[in-house]
Amino acid sequence: MAAKTITVTYIEDGGKEHRIAVPEGWSLMEGAVKHLVPGIDADCGGACACATCQVFVDPAWEDKLAPKSDMEETMLDFAPETKPNSRLSCQIAATPDLDGIVLRLPKSQH
């Protein structure tokens, strides 16, 4: 496992918070799934093939993220109940400048 981690806060639709140490280089989807945070399905395991790992990025952190790829953009178009700050968490890598990021989870991924 990578030595360095960043702290990511996942907030379930019901309000429950999970503060997780995610190894740098891992995706924020993996950080959630590997710690059993409910609300992220990630059926495809992070291949950007299923759009079941949607998160809402806290507005304070939106600018720090790398822009969406065309693939992510179009996959998100078809995810349920997206918002302007929706992202697919499998496409966001944990990097030092995201230490402390806050993500909210949708009610359902399907």
Binding site: E30, M71, D77
Partner: protein, 403 residues
């Protein structure tokens, strides 16, 4: 006595079943039996990012180690079931005491089809199914090495793409007249053949392998009457359903364990899920699938049935493959007799092929084309009828097709 569920097979379906059984409120005991030394992990990255060295091993595991203990699931690794005694409801193990069950889930998956030609046992002949296979392959993946890939299917081509990227000299031998013939349309086969050729991969179609040559290890491969020098052979010629335990136990099997829409076998105490099953697909006839989607969805349905809340399984299957920077996404099951409608130009490396059956969308193959895939999957599920010329018209956005 609390109820006891035993799951044979610690892969994607087995792990999903543990999660779903608990999510559905099952409060009894669960034992998960796996032959490998690893806890359940994802297989798709093995032939892609993991082989490329861009995805370290801890990321492969589906659950954290603590998951199984927290879920009250006894995880038995390096353990192999020898027989199922249905009358006694016991799983006999190759070593150690038998395990009693009230309900049994078979999630035994598949094993690779082995090459049977002369020389097939020589050191240097590799297969790709598990972590250990890839670790062994990686150890010999040196730039400049000559790699002969036997079989131009998903596994062979994904490995070829990684190998080309890592500087190996790659030749693919395929007995059929086109690549991925079992899985994709001729249009896709032609497109991928051109992409592999561009990357420097040599393709030998209609070329069956006759022998692996070498004295102490692989030195060459004889195919189509010609000997090609080779340092490494990777065989990807398909997989076989692990249905032996079920068959010997007297359960119905036919290239897979036969189950109904609730993942039930002919025995009221035994269910099966994932690659190892022959089940009634979304089109209403018996199929066997090899994909993550089926492992996950069928395991969820098995869990529902096992807790007494059966729900019919009829999801549209989906698949993906990563080769170079191309993401292939497929939904539905195409047939050779389908009418083919192409949307977009392959020259742009972004296009889709739709399969219409009696006017309705039956399958879609999308290359770097997420809207076509996502909307296409919906169209398949609904059996939507769309005029071919409209489907091919790029000025009509995919979103409007579904409206």
């Amino acid at each position: 006595m609390p109820e006891k569920i035993v799951i044979i097979g610690a892969g994607q379906a087995g792990a999903q079943a543990v999660q779903s059984l608990r999510a559905e409120g099952f409060g009894g005991g669960i034992t998960l039996i796996g032959e490998e030394s690893w806890p359940p992990y994802q297989r798709p990255p093995l032939s892609k990012a993991y082989l490329l060295g861009q995805f370290e091993r801890p990321r492969l595991f589906l659950k954290p180690d603590s998951f199984y203990a927290e879920a009250g699931c006894e995880l038995r690794l390096n353990a192999r079931a020898r027989a199922i005694h249905r009358a006694e409801r016991l799983v006999e193990m190759e070593s150690g005491p038998s395990i009693a069950y009230d309900k049994l889930l078979l999630a035994t998956g598949t094993r690779v089809r082995k090459l049977t030609c002369p020389g097939a046992e020589l050191p240097g002949v590799h297969y790709l199914r598990g972590i250990d296979d890839v670790d062994a392959l990686q150890a010999v993946f040196q730039s400049g090495a000559r790699l002969a890939v036997v079989g131009g299917g998903y596994i062979g081509l994904e490995v070829a793409a990684v190998a080309a990227k890592r500087g190996l000299d790659v030749t693919v031998f395929e007995a059929m007249d086109r690549l991925m013939a079992r899985a994709v349309s001729p249009q896709l086969s032609a497109f991928y053949a051109a992409e592999h050729a561009k990357a420097g991969v040599k393709l030998m179609l209609r070329t069956g392998v006759e022998a692996i040559q070498g004295t102490d290890r692989v030195e060459g491969i004889r195919a189509g009457g010609t000997v090609y020098p080779a340092d490494i052979v990777l065989v990807g010629i398909g997989v076989l359903a692990n249905d032996d335990l079920a068959r010997v136990a007297g359960l119905g099997c036919e290239d897979g364990i036969i189950v109904d829409k609730n993942a039930r076998t002919g025995d009221a105490h035994i269910w099966a899920a994932g690659d190892c099953t022959r089940h009634v697909g979304h089109e209403g006839h018996a199929i066997r699938l090899e994909c993550v989607q089926n492992a996950i969805d069928q395991a969820k349905h098995a869990a529902l049935a096992m807790v007494g809340r059966p729900k019919d399984y009829s999801e549209v299957p989906w698949f993906w493959s990563d080769q170079y920077d191309l993401k292939l996404q497929i939904a539905g099951l195409a047939r050779p007799t389908d009418m083919i409608v192409q949307r977009g130009d392959p020259a742009n490396r972004k296009f889709a092929v739709f399969h219409l059956r009696d006017g309705a969308v039956a399958a879609v193959e999308a290359v770097n084309a997420a809207p076509e895939y996502m909307i296409g999957k919906k169209l398949v599920a609904e059996g939507r009828r769309i005029a071919p010329e409209r489907l091919a018209d790029l000025s009509v956005p995919m979103k409007q097709m579904a409206a």
